[in-house]
């Protein structure tokens, strides 16, 4: 009886992904315990976050892709409306308007767009599958560009990059021609100075700091310098769990959220980093495998975009902590403390599972 219940509950869960994700989430709790200064309340909060996120994942996994297809336009439209509302009614914090108070709860509409944009684009390309013309890519680009610009103006560079990346992956996988890609690349390079002019001061500072963190060791470069010290001092095998001095003596800022990787790396060293890279690769590889074997274009595009967005999270965060990418507010997937990112990531994982497990049910 119980066996059958379990079988029913897990029928749409991919055991492979579930295992790797479970390992990563557990590892996240282990690191969080150290990063939070052995705070059990933090662990408790994160457990609640994970519980909510796993539920979201379960729901997403049990919704067949063709049903998901129907949500694409409403999700995107709602997301866009909310994004427009943010500058008008949003709450301001640290000079940026990112949050919208809905009375019941505060939400960050930009998070919604991390799924909403690839969903919408995948829906669009799936719908016009037979006749993919340049026009479709132009429309796709507009669908992508509007929310990205709105998010960048909040300003929230990290999320804007992630949303842009997610949308771009759909465009790329859908077959955007190399000529257009090359043209886009040149245009992007050409627009860099314009972009620079449009950037907020603190965004420029982040870029400058990346180029030379030592110029402002206590100000803008502090994050990067302290996190590279944490990494470097960890060595091959690390200082051991709960023994990272950089984290435990407050030298690392934001060490439970965006910079949790520095804590992990200080305590577990290069060895730990390699394990983490392999775990992430397993998730990404499985995602790409699911994408490659999906039956519908929509599923393929969505699975590919979700997987590559997951990769982008991991890469940007781990590169930023290691001092080779600018400091943008991107959490480390499945490891960083925080409910929003856990829900977003696990929702994506749930979509992957759904695509994989519903494949056979779709008639070709």
């Amino acid at each position: 009886m119980i066996d059958r219940l379990i079988a029913y509950l897990t029928r749409h869960l991919d055991p492979f992904l579930a295992t790797v994700v479970g390992v990563l989430l557990s590892l996240g709790l282990v690191v969080l315990f150290s990063a939070s200064g052995e705070s059990f309340s933090r662990i408790g909060n994160q457990l609640v976050n994970i519980l909510i996120a796993v539920t979201v994942m379960w729901i997403a996994a049990n919704v067949a892709p063709q049903h998901l297809l129907r949500f694409a336009v409403p999700v995107y439209v709602v997301g866009l409306v909310l994004l427009i509302c943010v500058p008008l009614f949003g709450d301001e914090a640290k000079g940026a308007k990112r949050w919208l108070d809905l009375g019941v709860t505060r939400i960050q509409p930009s998070e919604l767009m991390k799924i909403g944009v690839p969903l919408m684009l995948a829906w669009y390309f799936d719908r016009y599958e037979a006749i993919l013309k340049l026009k479709d890519y132009v429309i796709g680009s507009i669908v992508l560009a509007v929310p990205v610009l709105l998010i960048a103006m909040q300003p929230d560079l990290g999320t804007a990059i992630l949303v842009a990346a997610a949308g771009f992956y759909v465009l790329f996988l859908a077959g955007l021609s190399w000529k257009v890609l090359a043209a886009l690349g040149i245009a992007a390079a050409g627009s860099l100075p314009i972009l620079w002019g449009m950037m907020h001061d603190y965004q420029r500072q982040r870029v400058l700091t990346l180029l030379d963190p030592s110029q402002d060791p206590l100000g803008r470069g502090y994050h990067t310098i302290q996190s590279t010290i944490a990494l470097g001092s960890g060595g091959v095998f690390g200082k051991g769990w709960l023994n990272g001095t950089q984290a435990r003596l407050d030298f690392l800022p934001e060490r439970t959220t965006d910079f949790i990787f520095a804590v992990y790396s200080e305590e577990f060293g290069l060895f730990g980093n390699m394990i983490l890279l392999v775990l992430f690769l397993l998730v990404i590889g499985r995602g790409l495998y699911i994408s490659a074997n999906a039956s519908m274009l929509f599923s393929r595009l969505l699975a590919g975009a979700v997987t590559l967005t997951f990769f982008t999270y991991a890469f940007v965060n781990m590169g930023m902590v290691a001092g080779i990418l600018p400091v943008v507010g991107v959490p480390l997937p499945l490891i960083s403390y925080g409910g929003t990112s856990a829900v977003t990531i696990l929702f994506g994982i749930g979509i992957l599972m759904s695509i994989h497990t519903h494949k056979r049910l779709v008639t070709t």
Partner: protein, 653 residues
């Protein structure tokens, strides 16, 4: 495996597509081509992912393997700060264990100029809640000028509990100002023995450079003070102790989280002096307001029982940083209170030189005890026109060796000097320590001068003339000696040629173990003097203090034997035939009064030399001081404080 899978599928599909003829089954072809294209793109993405992760891995290898040591050091520097723990400075105690320099703890109000910016408005604001005198401000300004790199400088020391409380309440108004508990040096006896103790003061840039040169600057991290003068300077190494260190783990806010390692400081060694503070006090009291010096030595050890240089100063005012006005006053005062006259003052030894001359004559066989001269009141050198006058007009008549000392006959010694020759005098009397530093354990000692032919050649490039020797015989001429040298020579005389280096510190006590190390326990030289000659000179010196002698008045009714010799040193040279009239001479041109003695004469416990600047006659100005000192040491008699300042009239010099 998983990652390569899409690529394989793609290739497989592509090869199969080759078999299909174009233009058939459009939908089918499109689907296959789309899938192929999609999987190719996916493969490109997978390649990108692998490449990106490889870049990350390279970066981690670089940081965690190649640069590991560098970052480990940075992390350790982040985490660990080393705080010095200042050792307690060693105590200074007299021979009876009386403390004459110790430490006390007090609160100071300190400003960190670097954090404050403009100092004056802060001091103005502080003055509203804490009593800050103009002299505190001046002192602070002086400290500010002296040191630029110092963290915090005291604006007020010795805060009362109430002031501490008042500041604590207002603390938030004064960033960069804090109250610290610090150890302060204190000299409880004020001016007494000030020239022996010297003082400590704030470490100056020059001190710092010297410490760095000696390679001991690390031991002074956290220390604000260093011995500047006197014993505090000479025994700085022993007194300072070893600075301890606390390795503290600090968080990013600089707060100490826990102590990792603690190396306790080692307190400085305690100095046990040969000096008897009570005797020192008596000597200083008897000296009164007169300028001069007194050095008393225990002949059997070389230990300095008392060392007076008048005027003195209060060493306590240097400890907290002397304010510029007082500093100016001390430096420009005509009395020069900062000069240690006992060690640095050079004076002609005058007639106190005569016992040594007499002994030289006896020892070198140039005089016999019975050899008698007729003193007409002058000495004529080899038929030349130059007359060397005796201090007594008309002369002393018939004078033998004994009488020459008792009445202090100059003419006798003019002749003796001529007969000995300068080099014999230099060679023999040099053994008593004249002409070179005694090696007492305080810096800045002057070497005095015991002339020789060679010296004159070197110094002036001139030949020694026979006439130069004559005045040397009575301790004038080129002769110069410090009071410590006179005391030293007297001690050697009292000790029959056994020479102990004079020393203030008798024992150095290790503050940890309590072990005591004795200083100068052994004589460092010994020369033979015939006992009969010693006795002859001693007997004459005893009679100096008896009726008929030049110090008879000072020693009337003395119950113990005193062997002494008076002296008067000319400050201004007089012309031929000019009579010295004390009343007509400016005070600072008056003669210096000198007296050397040891007692009891048969078993000496003390040998001393006294110099009273511009005091006039040795017998009247200096000998009474010796009497008071002897009476106190040998009889335990407290002196009646003399009201006069040495203008008591007495015959003799």
């Amino acid at each position: 495996m998983l990652l390569r899978l899409p690529l394989k599928i793609g290739l497989f599909r592509r090869s199969r597509a080759g078999f299909r003829p174009r233009g058939r089954g459009i939908e089918m072809r499109d689907l296959v081509r789309d899938l192929q294209r999609f999987q190719l793109r996916l493969a490109i993405c997978a390649g990108g992912v692998l490449f990106a992760f490889f870049v990350l891995l390279l970066r981690y290898v670089y940081l965690q393997v190649v640069q590991h040591e560098y970052y480990l050091t940075l992390a350790e520097n982040n985490r660990i700060s080393v705080l010095p723990v200042i050792p307690n400075r060693g105590l200074i105690l007299d021979r009876n264990g009386v403390v004459i320099a110790h430490n006390y703890s007090a609160y100071t109000l300190e400003i960190t100029p670097k954090e404050v910016g403009a100092v004056d408005p802060v001091i103005d604001a502080l003055a509203e809640i804490i009593d800050i005198q103009p002299k505190d401000r001046k002192r602070f300004r002086k400290l500010l000028e002296e040191r630029h790199d110092l963290d915090s400088l005291p604006i007020r020391t010795r805060l009362s509990d109430e002031e501490v409380a008042r500041f604590s309440v207002n603390r938030y108004r004064f960033p960069g100002v804090q109250i610290n508990a610090r150890l302060f040096r204190h000299y409880p006896n004020g001016e007494i023995a000030s020239h022996v103790l010297g003082y400590i003061g704030r470490i100056s840039d020059r001190d710092k450079a010297a410490l760095e040169r000696k390679g001991i600057a690390a031991n002074y991290s956290g220390s604000d003070y260093i011995g500047k003068v006197g014993l505090e300077e000479k025994y700085e190494k022993e007194l300072h102790g070893v600075t301890g260190f606390e390795q503290v783990e600090t968080d990013a806010g600089g707060r100490a989280v826990r102590t990792l390692r603690r190396i306790l400081p080692v307190s400085g060694d305690n100095l046990h002096l040969a000096l008897d503070l009570r005797l020192q006090e008596v000597a200083e009291r008897v000296f009164g307001s007169r300028r001069g010096a007194l050095v008393a030595i225990e002949p059997s050890t070389g230990g300095v029982l008392a060392l007076v240089s008048k005027p003195g100063f209060d060493p306590n005012q240097f400890v907290e940083g002397i304010d510029p006005q007082n500093w100016e006053a001390l430096n420009t005062a005509t009395d020069k209170p900062l000069n240690n006259r006992a060690l640095q003052g050079v004076y002609p030894p005058g007639s106190t030189f005569k016992p040594f001359m007499a002994l030289t004559g006896l020892e070198l066989g140039k005089r016999s005890p019975s050899y008698t001269i007729y003193d007409p009141g002058y000495f004529i050198l080899g038929g030349a026109a130059h007359r060397f006058r005796d201090w007594k007009q008309g002369g002393h008549g018939m004078v033998d060796l004994h009488r020459s000392i008792v009445i202090s006959c100059d003419t006798y010694y003019y002749g003796l000097a001529q007969d000995l020759g300068i080099d014999a005098i230099h060679q023999f009397i040099g053994q008593f320590g004249f002409g070179k530093q005694t090696g007492i354990d305080i810096s800045g000692e002057s070497g005095g001068l015991l002339p020789s032919q060679e010296w004159k050649q070197k110094r002036f490039g001139q030949k020694w003339f026979g006439g130069d020797t004559i005045s040397v015989g009575i301790g004038q001429g080129y002769n110069l000696a410090t009071p410590i040298q006179l005391a030293f020579a007297t001690a050697i005389l009292a000790n029959s040629g056994v020479v102990y280096r004079p020393h203030l510190v008798r024992q150095i006590e290790d503050s940890q173990t309590g072990d005591r190390r004795t200083i100068e326990a052994e004589p460092y030289n010994k020369f033979t003097i015939k006992t009969e000659n010693l006795i002859r000179v001693r007997d004459a010196m005893i009679d100096v203090n008896k009726p008929g002698g030049t110090a008879a008045l000072a020693f009337s009714g003395v119950p113990y034997g005193v062997a002494g010799k008076t002296g008067t040193a000319q400050v201004v040279a007089m012309k031929q035939n000019e009579k010295y009239d004390e009343s007509k001479v400016l005070e600072h041109h008056r003669d210096h009064a000198l007296y050397i003695a040891y007692a009891p004469a048969d078993a000496p416990r003390i040998a001393l030399a006294i110099l009273v600047e511009n005091g006039g006659h040795g017998g009247s100005a200096a000998a009474p001081i010796a009497r008071a000192v002897f009476d106190f040491l040998l009889l335990g008699k407290e002196p009646k404080i003399p009201k006069d300042d040495g203008k008591e009239e007495a015959e003799g010099d």
